[in-house]
Symmetry: C2
Subunit: 157 residues, 2 copies
């Protein structure tokens, strides 16, 4: 159903797998994983008990992290597909970074349930994508976000 | 110099001190602390090694967390002052939540140095503030944010 089998983060090059949000080799991190579900992209994550805002609700920084890494992962998926590749092909995907991020917190997000970020993608430029994100808990939208993601400049490495 | 002696989070009521970002009793959290510096508010935090994006740089979710908790803390400071109180008076301050959050990542934020979030506050309504945030590393602005904070609705508790 909503599980991500082939995540784009599984195939990032070794320099790019240390992100606290989505790096597979960051042992303290969240290990967010983003994949296709039809024409949409999804990332699922169940916050830990410590990811509290007010008791019973998820803190905003966790939701921001989910939206951020989901956004860069989704942009990577989209450009990778445009280039003729899918996760699972073992072809190194492009790595995006976040230029800007905005979030509307629609309602308190309950702690203890799995969150699902879902996106439709919009190409702005060959190296720049807008990712409109909805974050669901119990099938209700708790937050809406927008990520403006750009291919990582070489100056980063 | 830039240390926060009296933080607003030190005086939140016991129900509100569990936030992963700024709760003093969240043992896994960041323990962000926000105070006045003249007419500005500041929050300082040195990210941990695991708060990586690309090696050497801070991941966006940590910056979002810093901006988020700095924003709600700053709004609380501002309304508290408007009500005649300062941190250190041991009067329970109002608790804000984030309605929306936006961030522009101006340049890669270096890991391993102390970050400082600084704000000027703008009252929108007695229960709603806009907090314009600049995040500095090594005296350079790495990110700019805006937090729209509202007094926590009673439905939260």
């Amino acid at each position: 159903m909503d599980n991500v089998i082939h995540a784009i983060q599984d195939e990032y090059a070794d320099d790019y797998v240390w992100c606290y949000g989505c790096g597979r080799l960051n042992e303290h991190g969240l290990h967010l994983r983003t994949g296709w579900q039809g024409e949409e992209t999804i990332t699922v994550y169940t916050p830990l008990p410590e990811h509290t805002a007010i008791p019973g609700f998820v803190y905003g920084g966790l939701i921001a992290s989910l939206i951020d890494c989901h956004g860069t992962g989704s942009a990577s998926l989209a450009l990778h597909r445009k280039n003729g590749h899918e996760p699972g092909y073992e072809v190194e995907p492009p790595r995006f970074v976040t230029a800007s991020l905005s979030i509307d917190f629609m309602k308190p997000t309950p702690l203890g349930v799995r969150l699902k970020a879902v996106s439709i993608l919009e190409e702005v430029h060959p190296k720049r994508w807008k990712i409109h994100v909805e974050v669901f808990a119990n099938n209700l939208v708790c937050a809406k976000g927008m990520v403006d993601a750009v291919v990582m400049p070489k100056s980063f490495v």
